[in-house]
């Protein structure tokens, strides 16, 4: 196999969420976000042994939910901006939402045709309240976690 020519860093990622289950009004949080981690989605695998074999019989079950964890900067302006919107979402009961991201979604050289990963309706299960310490000049950071049943890959238009 020839070496890939389409690998890319994650610096141009675009991360969006939408309140509710429809996902029609995506809100871009790339301007405050600085990292994204995806975990979960493992297939539950059961096993059993018989006297006839030294190896187990396997059976596949359901998949675990997927967690999308985003680290972002807190914003001081409460009246508008992405943190305030996220706060509203996280404080809604239940905090139903969708999340999607594209590793090259903000590429200045064009993102059409690159990968987009869209979550089914899930929840924003956690959003940090801002905190920090007096000795640091670092911008205040917060993290949030979205849980979705699955991510679907597609190509950006």
């Amino acid at each position: 196999m020839a070496a890939t020519t389409s690998s890319a860093p994650f610096v141009d990622a675009k991360i969006e969420y939408a309140s509710g289950s429809a996902g029609g009004s995506w809100i871009d949080i790339s301007g405050i976000a600085n990292s994204l981690t995806v975990s979960g989605g493992e297939v539950e695998v059961g096993s059993a042994n018989t006297f006839a074999s030294r190896y187990p019989l396997l059976a596949a079950g359901a998949r675990a939910p997927i967690q999308v964890e985003v680290n972002a900067l807190w914003e001081s302006v409460e009246a508008s901006g992405s943190y305030a919107g996220l706060r509203t979402l996280a404080d809604t009961d239940p905090p139903v939402c969708r999340v999607r991201y594209s590793p090259l979604g903000n590429s200045t050289s064009g993102s059409s045709g690159t990968a987009l990963y869209t979550g089914d309706p899930g929840y924003c299960v956690q959003l940090d309240w801002p905190g920090g310490d007096a000795s640091s000049g670092d911008p205040v950071a917060v993290s949030m976690t979205f849980v979705t049943p699955k991510l679907t890959a597609s190509a950006l238009a």
Binding site: K14, N106, G137, D138
Partner: protein, 143 residues
């Protein structure tokens, strides 16, 4: 918002520190004479470290950490008894640290720390020896 060290050095030069003249970048002395001291001025090796790190995706923001150095010269060596110089030198370090830590940069910059080093005899640009110390100001800026 853009990086602006001249804005920061101007703010430092504008500090009111009792008994200390504070100079800006465009006042760095080529030769410091006794009548000019006590004086705090930017070290010719002014910028000792600088680093920038991306802290968001697009639109991208960067956190920039910079250390800038100043020199404080109090009195020419031999012009006064050391017993007279030292209390004033220590008091000047208190005043300078307090003033720099009190510098409010709003959203433009943050003084993250102030450190003193080289306490003792220092050479001015002509090689003349003065009692003084070096001051390093650690800055954080987000642009």
């Amino acid at each position: 918002m853009a990086l602006s060290l001249p804005t920061i050095t101007a703010a430092i030069a504008g500090l009111s520190i009792s008994g200390v003249r504070v100079l800006d970048l465009d006042d760095i002395p080529d030769a410091t004479f006794a009548p000019g001291v006590p004086c705090l001025f930017p070290d010719p090796a002014f910028l000792s470290s600088a680093s920038g790190t991306a802290i968001t995706f697009r639109p991208r923001k960067y956190q920039v950490e910079r250390d800038v150095r100043y020199v404080y010269l109090h009195a020419e060596c031999g012009s006064l008894r050391l017993a007279n110089v030292m209390p004033a030198l220590v008091a000047a370090s208190d005043s300078i640290i307090s003033a720099l830590l009190g510098l409010e940069g709003g959203n433009a910059y943050h003084v993250n720390g102030v450190s003193i080093g080289g306490f003792g005899a220092l050479s001015d640009p002509t090689g003349k020896q003065f009692w003084g110390f070096q001051v390093t100001v650690a800055l954080t800026e987000v642009v």
